[in-house]
């Protein structure tokens, strides 16, 4: 009697243990053997991937229930492009200021001769300034649309900024195709001058004598720096132009995905384009004595030509039948 009584709890425990392990086994079997994929969940997962479907009001992208590209685009635009682009431009400006302070202006080594050599024809200058003017308008309006919300609204308030950005959008959208015309004209006009040659690599070694030591390398009409800038215009201009046209003419049933991708490429390349253009503006004005007049008046001083583009200068002299040494200051040289 006492033994049985003492054994009773033990027996109960044993029975409970067996039951629990059985139950566990059954549950385990159920979990393992059941179909892990839930058909309903799978159905909505497919929707989440943005497959097209039917709707009786199909305009404006309504055949897609959920498009996922938008959130990615938002992250790239707001998280990366708007955050980084001001710093790229600010760093470029700081870099240029430092360069100016350390290297300074590239001076003419000899006094001006007064002899003028024609460097750019009137047509070339018209195309250059047409493109440059539009480029500046596009850069300012484009950067305003990208950064205005973060930089201008805190200063000026919503109403003013909305008016300004509304005007910027209109200017940007109408000037864009005009700028593209300018860029394409420049490509047509200047491509033959910009084919890289072997002497360009010598020029690049000390940036035409601007930095480091060593003699000034020989160079023709267009130096490697100018050629590089031209190729960047062709490349960046073409990219910004194509994506810009896609964004500017939403009339060919572009999907939102195409618009998102175009916008990301357009904004990124445009910021780089503006940054590099600052270098071009610096070199064309402050960076070098006697260079601005080349594009403004069309001709340069013979001394400038001899110093910076010696081979081109000699070629010009040969063309006009005069030896470089005897170039007389009174004679205007014709291109």
């Amino acid at each position: 009697m006492t033994t049985t009584n003492r054994l009773l709890p033990v027996r109960r425990l044993a029975i409970i243990a067996v039951l629990i392990s059985l139950l566990g086994g059954v549950m385990y079997y159920q979990v393992v053997s059941s179909d892990p994929s839930n058909p309903r969940a799978n159905f909505w997962r497919v929707i989440r991937a943005g497959i097209p479907a039917y709707t009786s009001t199909p305009a404006q992208g309504h055949t897609i229930l959920i498009q996922n590209g938008g959130e990615n685009w938002r992250e790239i635009r707001n998280g990366i492009i708007t955050r980084i682009s001001p710093w790229i431009i600010i760093l470029a400006l700081i870099g240029m200021a430092v360069f100016y302070l350390i290297v300074g202006q590239e001076k003419l080594e000899k006094p001006r001769s007064g002899v003028k050599i024609i460097r750019f024809t009137r047509d070339e200058r018209i195309i250059h300034w047409y493109t440059a003017g539009l480029f500046i308008i596009m850069a300012i309006t484009g950067l305003s649309l990208l950064l205005g919300r973060f930089l201008l609204i805190p200063l000026l308030g919503h109403t003013l900024v909305s008016g300004y950005l509304g005007a910027s959008k209109i200017l940007h959208n109408y000037c864009g195709p005009l700028l593209l015309i300018g860029i394409v004209s420049e490509i047509v006009l200047w491509l033959p001058f910009n084919i890289p040659r072997k002497i360009d690599f010598d020029w690049l070694k000390n940036m035409g004598g601007m930095i480091g030591s060593g003699p000034r390398p020989h160079i023709g009409k267009i130096n490697a720096g100018e050629k590089g800038w031209s190729w960047l215009i062709f490349l960046f201009g073409g990219t910004v132009g194509i994506t810009g046209i896609l964004l500017d003419f939403p009339i060919w049933d572009q999907t939102r995905y195409i618009m998102q991708v175009s916008h990301v490429i357009h904004a990124t390349v445009a910021v780089l384009f503006v940054t590099v253009s600052l270098g071009h503006i610096y070199m064309g004005t402050l960076g070098m004595e006697g260079v601005f007049e080349a594009m403004w008046t069309g001709s340069v001083d013979a001394v400038w030509a001899q110093q910076n583009h010696d081979l081109w200068y000699e070629e010009k002299m040969r063309e006009t039948g005069e030896t470089p040494a005897t170039a007389s200051p009174q004679n205007e040289q014709r291109a």
């Binding site: 159905f43 497959i51 009001t57 938008g70 959008k169 959208n173 939403p250 939102r256 998102q260």
Partner: protein, 202 residues
């Protein structure tokens, strides 16, 4: 404060487009814009489902995040509204929105679009509630009148629910706990020879 939400029960939606019509009529929506639309997935196939969709009034709204003039605002009820006087028609909200809610009266060369238009949860826009000007720009402000969105009110099968998120989800929870994991339609499986559990008909 209530947190306003839409919910469309895909088991009930029969793609009648009643919500679309109700909305277009109530707000005098410009031609070509449908603030609400009905999407049918697997149209004409087994497992077809329809769902009515409009602006979902996102808490962290992508449209508002990318708008260059910052013209969106969220009401204390969680309704995402925008100011048409500020909108410049850049189209960014459309690129960002997951549901295709923002729309434009036109899509012309040089990206001329007009002012963005979207579902307001029948809550109008900035400016005086129920003024003529508000009606012209944003449609009727039923919320200010103490009413809920008309689309849901008009829904014949009560697939579309609109209102305080807690109440909406309560209704939906009641439905799905009774529904089991099959369509509720009596006799369907017998009549159409659908083998339960084989997963052809989600």
């Amino acid at each position: 404060m209530a947190r306003m939400k839409f919910l469309c029960d895909a088991e009930r939606c029969i793609e009648c487009n009643g919500c679309v019509t109700a909305c277009n009529n109530e707000h005098d929506v410009p031609w070509g814009i449908n603030r609400r639309h009905v999407v049918t997935i697997k149209d004409g196939q087994s497992g077809e489902k329809s769902i009515s969709v409009a602006c979902m009034h996102c808490p962290d709204a992508p449209c508002a995040a990318v708008c260059p003039v910052d013209c969106f605002y969220t009401t204390p009820d969680g309704i995402v509204l925008h100011d048409k006087d500020l909108c410049i028609g850049c189209g960014y909200c459309v690129y960002a929105c997951p549901f295709g809610a923002p729309q434009f009266p036109e899509e012309s060369p040089f990206a001329v679009r007009g002012k963005m238009d979207k579902c307001t949860f029948c809550a109008g826009g900035p400016g005086l509630d129920n003024s003529v000007e508000e009606y012209k720009k944003y449609g009727r402000n039923r919320i200010a009148e103490g009413k809920l969105p008309l689309c849901a009110e008009m829904c014949a099968t009560k697939a579309l629910l609109a209102g305080d998120g807690n109440i909406v989800s309560e209704i939906y929870i009641q439905r799905i706990t009774k529904r089991g994991s099959r369509p509720e339609t009596w006799g369907w499986e017998t009549a159409y020879n659908f083998k339960s559990g084989k997963g052809k008909n989600p």
